[in-house]
């Protein structure tokens, strides 16, 4: 199937030439690069990158997912299965995902040196250790800012499920903070029932007229921002159906699974297709101190169907080439099985799965020892992963945001990307 965003149409080739010509002419400056002309912007918009984070809340067991150790003292009852990438095995709880592992990659050598939920969540989604009095932006805010499209009125940082506005953008500002969604259009985004379409149009025309007249004499940066916000809100109202997952056909709901996570995955596809730069969906809960195996059986059965369907759809629709997908948790789970058939918190040797964008399909980075108790090759941490996500989006992870004239590094300067994972 042809890629919708990196297709080789004549129009695209011409535009790309124009874009490269302008680059050599020095129209784009370093770092994140301000887009100098609408023509360049148009090309980059076609190359729009996106991010999907699947957050396995509570701490997914790496042994029951991406780094199984069957028939060892820590292995537990599940077996490993072959995946679509020869030589790569994952846990038998993920048979449908296994069929897509030729499109995905694994990092099996994470040591975040942390076993606390809150700190782990911060590490993995902010790319740094949490410190009192210091605020950094969430990967969603960074993505929304760095991958922002001026022609798209939709918010850039969506969190599913949820229902409120997050305070997770730090110095990037509230525009890039997360908005929680539950598969329905945003509240108050519909035209009031007692306002006809015709009257609404007339009302807007009048507003536009007065606004234009005002701008002729008293235009300022503030009024421009106000006008832009209003226009964005108006366009968002026109696109409110993007957030309504019930608009998807019944067969799609069936394919993804009729449980909440299935619905959220389907909604994520819908949002990514509509150009939203960052979507995070969560699946709960993996904090299995008790009956780890029963609960992973239940949870991953649900995850596997929906996630594999989503990866398959993103691939078939050409979106995976431009969409970074990361399956993460706050940490992994202990190799040691406790007395209640549970596994506890473990940040010493665990894994994430990622793919799409510039991630090398089928790659396996790093290694743990025979029974998964320590990393023995290519140790990385959350800072390195954060750099890697940005690199996979074609961003310079060592670049900075210009915030009021002050450079703010996008990622922890003390870490760096896993270069061998980037194609």
């Amino acid at each position: 199937m042809k890629c919708q965003y990196s297709c080789q149409t004549g129009e695209h080739v011409l535009a790309r030439r124009d874009f490269l010509g302008m680059l050599t002419g020095g129209f784009v400056v370093g770092g994140l690069g301000a887009l100098a002309t609408p023509a360049v912007s148009a090309v980059l918009q076609k190359e729009q990158k996106r991010v999907l984070v699947v957050y396995m809340a509570g701490g997914l067991s790496q042994l029951e997912s991406w780094d199984p150790k069957p028939k060892t003292d820590t292995g537990g009852p599940f077996r490993a299965i072959q995946t679509a990438t020869p030589g790569t095995h994952i846990c038998e709880l993920l048979p449908k995902t296994a069929l897509h592992m030729d499109k995905l990659a694994l990092v099996r050598s994470i040591d975040t040196k942390n076993g606390d939920h809150g700190k782990g969540s911060y590490q993995m989604t902010y790319g740094r250790n949490q410190m009192p009095g210091v605020e950094y932006p969430h990967i969603g805010a960074v993505s929304a800012k760095a991958l922002e499209r001026s022609d798209n009125p939709l918010p850039g940082h969506i969190r599913i499920p949820g229902g409120s506005r997050g305070s997770d953008a730090a110095y990037l500002g509230p525009k890039y903070a997360s908005i929680g969604m539950n598969g329905k259009p945003p509240a108050n985004s519909a035209r009031a029932a007692n306002l006809t379409e015709q009257n609404d149009a007339l009302r807007n025309q009048f507003r536009q007229k007065v606004n234009d007249r005002f701008s002729l004499k008293r235009r300022t940066a503030e009024t421009d921002v106000y006008t832009q916000s209003y226009e964005q809100a108006k366009q968002l109202m026109e696109k409110r159906d993007v957030f309504d997952v019930e608009k998807e056909p019944a067969a799609e709901h069936e394919k993804y699974g009729k449980h909440d996570f299935g619905k959220h995955c389907l909604m994520a596809r819908r949002l990514l297709e509509n150009g939203i730069p960052f979507v995070q969906i969560s699946h709960s809960n993996y904090d299995t101190h008790n009956e780890n195996f029963n609960f992973h059986l239940e949870q991953l059965g649900e995850f596997d169907q929906s996630f594999a369907t989503l990866i398959g759809d993103l691939h078939e629709r050409g979106l995976l080439k431009s969409t970074l997908v990361v399956v993460m948790s706050e940490f992994g789970r202990t190799p040691r099985i406790n007395a209640r058939f549970g596994r506890d918190h473990w940040g010493t040797a665990w894994s994430v799965c990622l793919g799409g964008a510039k991630i090398q399909p089928g790659a396996v980075i790093g290694k743990t020892n025979e029974n998964g108790t320590k990393v023995i090759d290519r140790e990385v941490d959350h800072g390195d992963l954060f750099h890697t996500y940005l690199s996979a989006l074609d961003l310079d992870s060592r670049g900075s945001f210009d915030i009021g004239g002050r450079a703010q590094p996008m990622a922890d300067p003390a870490a760096g990307p896993i270069d061998e994972l980037i194609v």
Partner: protein, 336 residues
């Protein structure tokens, strides 16, 4: 000596060294079979506690049953298989290896006359097998994983219990579903954690056949954190109505097994965050009249055919044998 549950005491604690999962006496009382997290089976000789261990399934063994003739032991694996083994021998080799279910085989039981073996699994099915490993019948009707199976000791009936707290009664000869007992108290759905929890972990029928006891857990305020308590739910066999609930007062854990003893007393093995307990209930009372705390935590229990001894499987790598009668002499529990 005679049964005296208040005098129950540990007489043997045999060390395997790896966490023990399941245990089952052979019907002749010569051996105890156990499974452990190291993927082996163990056969313990009751006379002297000597052990033979051998690799078994490609995964853990969740349940064990022995045919009444004492010649064949059957194991249920998390590798979807059941395996028939000879009881004797230094290195037992499988007699029959059967791909029994799609997913774990969680439970086994053997009909009193040895003619049928029942298995229950994660495919929500119950299956009946003959002593040669041939499939006799498949029973469909559960909507969640089958956690336990139990042949009626006198009638041609089978009971199967699932995660959702449903107990189906089947007519063995026809495979017809006769009725369903709903032990809803033994199932929890925790919306915040997104998990189903509990299930019918075991069943037993009183000697006169009047009371069906189902065991599991309740008060699961935090399933992922093991905050729950053991519970027996009793049903009146004749009309299927719930008789009473028997909670393990103040004990945290899962009720893994329940048995009726020869004097009518129910014994329940509880293990979990609160440790290991043998709880003793009079069948018509809701509170246990006696409880014995054991070391570590319990994961399974088996009643010896003499009716005086119980074996318990423990996470600390030990198998413990307790006698439910007064001590013969004041000597400490033997350690090996």
């Amino acid at each position: 000596m005679s049964l005296d549950t208040k005098q129950t005491h540990v007489v043997h604690q045999w060390k395997h060294g790896k966490p023990v999962i399941a245990c089952c006496f052979d019907p002749k009382g010569r051996y105890l079979f156990t499974s452990s997290e190291d993927y082996t089976l163990q056969r313990w000789k009751m006379d002297d506690g000597s052990k033979v261990a051998w690799p078994a399934h490609d995964s853990w063994v969740r349940d064990i049953a022995v045919l009444p003739d004492g010649e064949t032991v059957i194991t249920a694996g998390c590798d979807d298989q059941i395996i028939y083994w000879p009881v004797e021998g230094e290195k037992p080799e499988p007699r029959h290896t059967i791909k029994a279910h799609e997913g774990w085989v969680r439970a086994l039981d053997v009909k009193n006359d040895g003619s049928l073996i029942a298995s229950g699994g994660n495919d929500n099915l119950v299956k009946l097998w003959d002593p040669q490993g041939k499939l006799v019948r498949e029973l469909k009707g559960h909507e969640s994983n089958v956690y336990s199976v139990f042949f009626h000791p006198k009638e041609d009936l089978l009971l199967s219990g699932d995660l959702g707290g449903m107990v189906h009664q089947w007519e063995v000869k026809t495979g017809n579903l006769v009725r369903t007992f709903e032990a809803k108290d033994l199932h929890t759905y925790n919306g915040g954690q997104g998990v189903h929890y509990g299930g019918i972990r075991d069943m037993a029928l009183s000697a006169d056949g009047s009371i069906l006891a189902c065991v599991g857990l309740h008060k699961a305020s935090n399933p992922l954190g093991a905050v729950n308590e053991p519970l027996i739910v009793q049903f009146n066999w004749s009309d299927g109505k719930e008789l009473r609930k028997q909670p393990g007062e103040g004990v945290k854990g899962i009720g893994w097994k329940v048995e009726f003893l020869s004097d009518g007393v129910e014994i329940c093995a509880s293990g979990g965050s609160g440790g290991a307990y043998l709880l003793f209930f009079k069948p018509t009372e809701v509170k246990p009249f006696h409880q014995l705390k054991l070391p570590d935590t319990i994961r399974d229990m088996s009643l010896h055919p003499d009716g005086l001894q119980v074996a318990t499987a423990h996470h600390d790598g030990h198998v413990r044998i307790s006698r439910m009668e007064a001590k013969v002499a004041d000597k400490p529990a033997e350690k090996k």
